[in-house]
Assembly symmetry: D3
Homo-oligomer: 283 residues x 6
C-alpha cells in the first residue's frame, strides 16, 4: 500500500496532462467487456467521471450487442439471414432500441450519477442528434450516419452533464436505424471537432503480427493504417474500428485511440502517460 | 370545407389565449388511448407542437402500462401477486424501464420531431431528474417521488426542446423504481411552478353521477374535489389522477385539468375555449 | 359556424408554415384602405399580432397620404407645384411629420397594444434609423434613403416589441425628409436581411392584362418583373411598389409580396397558404 | 478667452461630480423657454448629451403647451370652457398628440442626434409606457398617470440611447390622455428610482418672498415644501411642479430640482457645483 | 516505484473529495518555510494548481517577513522600537511594499504560471481590495482590515486565474499599511464566504501539551479554541493564526485549517484525506 | 478666475472629442517628470481618470529608471558595464522588479484610486501578459517582447478598471526581463488594436532643428519619421520612442503621439484640441 504522500505525488504527476487537455472534448466508444463485467464497468465509469472533474468533456457512445442477443433469445426471436448476413427486421430493431436506449443507456447513466458524475442519456432520435439512412438494402434497418446535430450534445456538456449516446439513428421519414457504435462515435467526434476519439474494446490495439508481442504498434499514422488494412494485417472486427478512427481523423479529430478496456484504468493510462497503453492513430 | 378566410379567422380567435399563456409551462400527462391509437396519437402530438410554436412550454410525462403488459406477455413473464396486488420484481422493473424509456419514450420523441417539433426524451435517471424511494415494501420496486430536479427540464425547454419524461425514478442507492405517471406529472408541475397540469385520459372528467350526463363538473375547487373523494363520488382509477392534481395545486400550480384525450384536439379545446371540455380543478 | 374541433384543426393546419417561418423577419408596408377603414385596420393588426405570437418578427412601415391631405386641407395649406409636380415645402413637411409620426404612427401602436401585442412606434429620426437626402431638387423635401441603421429595430424586435416605422428620414444636416413608404419598407427589409417584404395595397397584385382576370400573376421572378415594367405592363402607382420589391430582393430578401390588404386576413392567407392571394416576386 | 490649459482644468474640476453620479439616472422635465428659444434649446440639449457621455443616464420628459396653442389657432379651433377651465375634447386631444409626439418630440430627438447624442422619442403609448385614466370628468381627456412601465425606458437607456418622452398616456380602453408633463416626469423618476428629478422652467426656483432676492431657497426639505404650499408661499404654476417633486421623493428619488432653464448651462451648474443654481428639494 | 495502474487508482480515490469541493473557494495563507525553501515552494504551488484544475477556486494570501528582514538589513535600515515593539515607520513600509508586492508576490505568480496555472498577483491597493486603518498608534503603519472588496478577486477567479494577494492595505487617505497576512486571509475568506481557510505554517497544528505527541488535536470547535487561548494552551505565534481562523468562522467560512506546509503535499493531504494532517477548526 | 457658466461651456466644447473617442482604447506610456514630480503626477493621473469617465479606455505602461537608480544606490550596488553598456545582472533585475512592480506601480494605482478612479496594477508576469526573451546576450536580463496576451487587460478594462502595467516581461523558462517601457507600450497598443499610443516624456516632440522653434513638427507620417531617423534628425533617446510609435502603427494603431508630460494637462490638450501640443505620427 502507498502512503498518503506518495498518493498526492501521483495526483501532481497528472498535472501536465490536465493542463494539456483542459476544456477539450473526448468522444469515448464504450463497449466490450468494459461494459458487461460489473467491476470493469465501474472502473471505466470512474475514469470517465474523473475526466469530467479535471475539465475534460467526455462524451460516451455505446452499442449493446451482447445485451441485445440475450433479449432476442429470451423473446424466442429467430435470426434472419440473407447471404449469410444477419438482417435487422423491424421487430429486431424495436427490441434493439429498447435494449440500447432503455436498458444499456440508462444503466450507464445511473452508474455515472451514483458515482458522483451527472449524466444524461440520449438516443440519436433525441433532438434528432443522429440522422441516418439505410446502409444496405439487404440488411434491413442497419443504418449509416448522414448527419450529426451537435447542438444538444454541446448544451448538455457545457452545463456539466456527461452525454451518453445510444447508437440509434433516425431517417428523414422517421424510420429507426441500428448503427455500428464505432462509426457513430467516429462521426460524433468529427462533428464536435473533438481532441480525441477513444474506442474501448477487448484487444490491446494493432499488431503487425498477432503472434509477436513485440510487433505491437503504439502509434500509427493515417496512411500506415490504410496500408495495413489493404495488406490484411488489420482484419476482422478491427477493420470497422480502424475505419471509424480514420473517419474521425478525416473530420478534424486530433488523434484516435484503440484501447483494451479490460485492464483497470486503461482509459486513464492512455491519457495520462506518455507512452499510452493502446494504439494511437494520428494524422 | 372551410374557406381560407374563415380559417384565418379561427387563428385570430386564438389570440387572446396565446396572449394569456405566452411563456407559461404546461405539464401534460400523456396516456390512455391518445398514446396507443396511431391517429389519436398524432393528433395529440400536433396539438403539443402547436403549443410550443405559440410560446407555451409543454413538458410531457408518460407511463406505458399496456405496452409493458404486452412485452411481459411476450417474454412469458408471470405476474407475481402479494395480497392481491401485483408486485414489481426486479425482472419486471427491467422490462418496464426498457419499454418505457427505450420504446414508448423514443416513439413519442420521434413522432414530435417528424411533425416539426424538437423533442428530447429522458427518464428520471437522466440528470437525476426524479429521485424516488420504495412506496410500499410489499409491492417491490413501485416507487414514489422524493425530489424533482428541474435543472435539466428547464435547460431543454429554454433551448426550444419539448422534454418527454418516462415515469422512472432512481433511489439514493441507485435502485430503479416504477412510479405512477400521474403522480410524476403532478410533482413535476409543482416543482416547475407550472401554469397548468393536464392529465389526458380516456374519460371526460368528473361527474357527480356517472349516469347523468348533466351532472358533469367542468370546474371544481380543491376543497370540493377532496370532499368528492371522501364521499366516494370520485373513485377507482380516478382517485390517483385527482390526487395528482391536488398535489400539483398544493405545490403552486395554477390549475389542473382532467381531459379525455380521445376526441380530436381535446387538448387545444381545453386550453383555447372558455368552457373547456374536461374538468378543471382550481385552488 | 364551425364547431370547436374543426377550429382546432385549422390551427394545426398552420403548423408547417409556423415551422417554416419561425424566427424570421417580415417587413410589412402597411397602407391603403387597410390603414383607413377601421374594420379592415383591426383585421390587419390582429393578423400582425398573430405573426408575432407564433415566432415571426413583423416590422411595420407606414406612410399616410390621405391623412396628410386632410390635415393640409384643414390648415388651408395650398399645394405648390413645379413643372406639374407637388413640392414638399418646409411647412408641408412639418405637417407631414406631425401627421405621420404623431397621429398615424401612434394610432397603429395603440391599436396593436390594445389587441394584445406590444408595439413601439418610431420615425426615421429615432436612433437615426433612416438617413436620407434630397431626392430631386425641384420637389423640395422629398427624400430618398441613404442608409438604414438596424440597431434600434433589432433591439426592439428581440425584446418582444413590434416596431412601427413612419417613413420620415433625416439628413446629415438634420433636415427632415418625407420618403415614399414603399421604398423605406424595401430598404428596411434589405438592411435586416428579412425573409419577406410584404406591401399591402388596394389591388390584388400584377396582371398581364387588367381586363383579363385569368392573366393574374401569382408568382413572378425578378427578371420578368423588370421586363413587365419596361413593357409598360406594370405601370402607374404599381411601378414604385414593384421597384421597392426589386430593391429588397437585390438586398438579399428571399421574397417580396404585393397584396390587397382589403379582404379579411389576406396577410395570413398570403403567408399560410401555398398559393397565396397576391403576387409574389422571387429571385 | 481662456487658454487651453485653463480649459482642461475645468474638465478636471468636474471629476468629483462625475464620480458621484456615474451610472445614475436623471429624469429631466424639459420645458419653458429652454424648449422654444433655439439658442437656449441647443444649450440645454448639449448639456444633456454631455451627461450621457460622462456616464449619467438622462431621460427627458416634455410637454408642449405653446406649440399646441399655436397649432390650435392655425386650425381655427375654439377653446371650450367648463366652469372656467379649458376642456380637452377629442379633437384637441388629436392635435395635442400630433404636436407633442409628432413635432416637439421629433425636434428634440433630431437636435440630440445632430449634436452627437443618440435619442429615441416615444409617447406613453409606445410599449404602453404610461398608462393613464381621466383626471376630472369635466375636463375631458386630461389624464393622470396610473402606471409607468419602465421596461422600454431601461432597454433604450442601457443601449446608449437618450429616451425622450411625450406626456401622452393611454387608458385601459385605448383612450388617449394629455397629462401634465411635470407629473409624468415625477412618476417616471419614481418608477425608475432615479437619483434626481430636474424640472426646467422659467423661474429660478422657490422664494419666501418674490420681492426679496435674498429670500431665495436653494435647498428645501419635503416637510418644508409642504408647509410652504399650505401657507400659499408656493403658489400658482409652481404648485404642480413642487407636487411633482414631492411625488418623486415619496417614490424613492434622492432629490428633486426646480431650475431656470434659460441661463446658459444652468443644468450643468445645478449638477456640477456644490451650491447649485435652483431650488433642490430633499427628503 | 508505483506501477501506472496503481497510480490511476490513486486519482480515482480522490474523486469523492473532488465532488465534495467542486466550485468551492479555498483561501490559503501561504507562508513559512513552504514559501522560502525552493523545493517545498514548488510542492505547495503544484498542489494549488491541482486544486484549480479539479474545479476548486484557490485564492492565495502571503506576507513576507523573512524576505523583508533581509532587505532591510541590506539597506542598513535599523529597527525602531517603542515599548519593545518594532515600529513600521514610513521607510520600512516602503521597503515592505516593494518586497511583498514587487518580489514575493511576483515570484509566486511566476512559479504558478511556469507550472501550468494562470496567476494574477495583486496588493490590497489594486481595485482597493483591502481597505485598512492604523492598528495601534504606537506601531506606525501596522494596519488592520476595515473592508474587503471581493469584486476583483471574483472577477479573476471566475476567469480561470489564481489570485495571489500581498497583505498590504490602503487607508481612506491613501496611506499604505502592512497587515498581518493571517488576518488578511481570514477576512478575505469571510468576505468571499469561502468553504475553507487554510493557514500554512511551520508547525503541525494545535496540541494540548507540546511535549506529548498524542495530545495533538486534529479537530477543534470554535468554543474549544477560544478556551485554549484563554488557558494559554494556545500561545505565542499561534494566537493570531487561531484568531484569524475564528474570524473566518465568525464570517461564515465552513472550516479553518492550521497546517504544517513543510512535508510534501500536506495541503492535498489535508483536503483529500478524511483525517487530514493538521488541526481543523469548525463551527 | 472663470465664472461657472464659462466653465460649463468648456465642458461642452469637449463634446465632439468625447463622441469621437467614445469606447476607444488609448495606451499611455507614463514616464519622465510627469511620474516623479508630485504635482505633475497628480495632474496626469487626473487627466487619465477623466478619460475613463468619459468613456475612453486608458491603459498605462510605466518604467521607473530614476527610482531604480536611487534604490541601487541605496543598496550600494555597483553598475556593471560591458563594452560601455550597463548590464542588467540578476541582482539588478531583482531590485528593478521590486521597484517597478512593488513601488512605482502601486504608487500609481493608489493615486488613481484616491482620486476617484479604479486601478489595478500588474506586471508582465501577471496572467503572463508580457512574454519576453533576452534582447542582447551582452546586456544580461534586458528583454524584448515576444508576445502580449491581452486577455487580462481587456477583462480589467471592460470591468471599469484602469490597468497599470510595469514593463517587466517573463521568458518561457520563467526568467524575468526588464524591458524598455516605450516598446512595451507600443506592443501593448498594437496587440489591443488601440486607437492611440501616447508616450509622455520631457520634450515636446520632434523638431527638424532643435534650435529653431518654428521647425517643430506637430504631425508626421510613418515614412517621414523613418527618413528623419535615417538622417539623424531624430536621434538619441528619441529614437526608441519613435520606433515604439512606428511598431504600434505597423500593428494597426491609428495614431501615435509624443508629448511633453510636464505642462499641466498636456494629455488632455493633445486629445481635446485640434492642433494638439506634441508630435502625432500617423500612417
Amino acid at each position: 500500500m502507498y502512503d498518503p504522500i506518495e498518493k498526492a505525488s501521483v495526483l501532481i504527476e497528472a498535472l501536465p496532462y490536465m493542463r494539456k487537455f483542459f476544456g477539450k472534448t473526448f468522444v469515448i466508444k464504450y463497449g466490450g467487456s468494459a461494459m458487461t463485467d460489473p467491476q470493469r464497468k465501474k472502473g471505466v465509469i470512474l475514469d470517465i467521471i474523473l475526466l469530467k472533474y479535471i475539465g475534460i468533456n467526455p462524451i460516451l457512445v455505446h452499442g449493446g450487442g451482447p445485451q441485445l442477443t440475450e433479449m432476442l433469445k429470451r423473446l424466442g426471436k429467430k435470426a434472419n439471414f440473407v447471404n449469410g448476413l444477419r438482417v435487422t427486421d423491424r421487430e429486431t430493431m424495436e427490441v434493439a432500441e429498447m435494449v440500447l436506449a432503455g436498458k444499456v443507456n440508462k444503466d450507464i447513466v445511473a452508474l455515472i450519477n451514483q458515482n458522483g458524475g451527472k449524466a444524461v442519456g440520449i438516443s440519436g432520435k433525441d433532438g434528432q442528434t443522429i440522422m441516418a439512412k439505410q446502409a444496405d438494402g439487404n440488411l434491413g434497418l442497419v443504418g449509416e450516419v448522414t448527419e450529426i446535430d451537435t447542438k444538444l450534445l454541446k448544451l448538455l456538456s457545457n452545463e456539466g452533464y456527461i452525454p451518453v449516446i445510444s447508437s440509434i439513428g433516425v431517417g428523414e421519414d422517421g424510420e429507426t436505424y441500428n448503427i455500428n457504435a464505432d462509426y457513430v462515435a467516429g462521426q460524433v467526434a468529427a462533428a464536435l471537432q473533438a481532441e480525441k476519439l477513444i474506442i474501448l474494446t477487448d484487444v490491446r490495439g494493432v499488431w503487425l503480427d498477432k503472434n509477436d508481442p513485440d510487433s505491437f504498434l503504439p502509434v500509427l499514422n493515417r496512411a500506415r493504417a490504410q496500408e495495413l488494412i489493404e495488406q490484411n494485417i488489420i482484419d476482422g472486427g478491427m477493420i470497422p474500428k480502424v475505419n471509424a478512427c480514420l473517419q474521425a481523423l478525416d473530420g478534424g479529430v486530433a488523434s484516435a485511440h484503440l484501447l483494451d478496456g479490460r485492464p483497470p484504468h486503461s482509459l486513464l493510462l492512455e491519457i495520462f502517460t506518455d507512452g499510452g497503453v493502446g494504439t494511437m492513430i494520428t494524422k
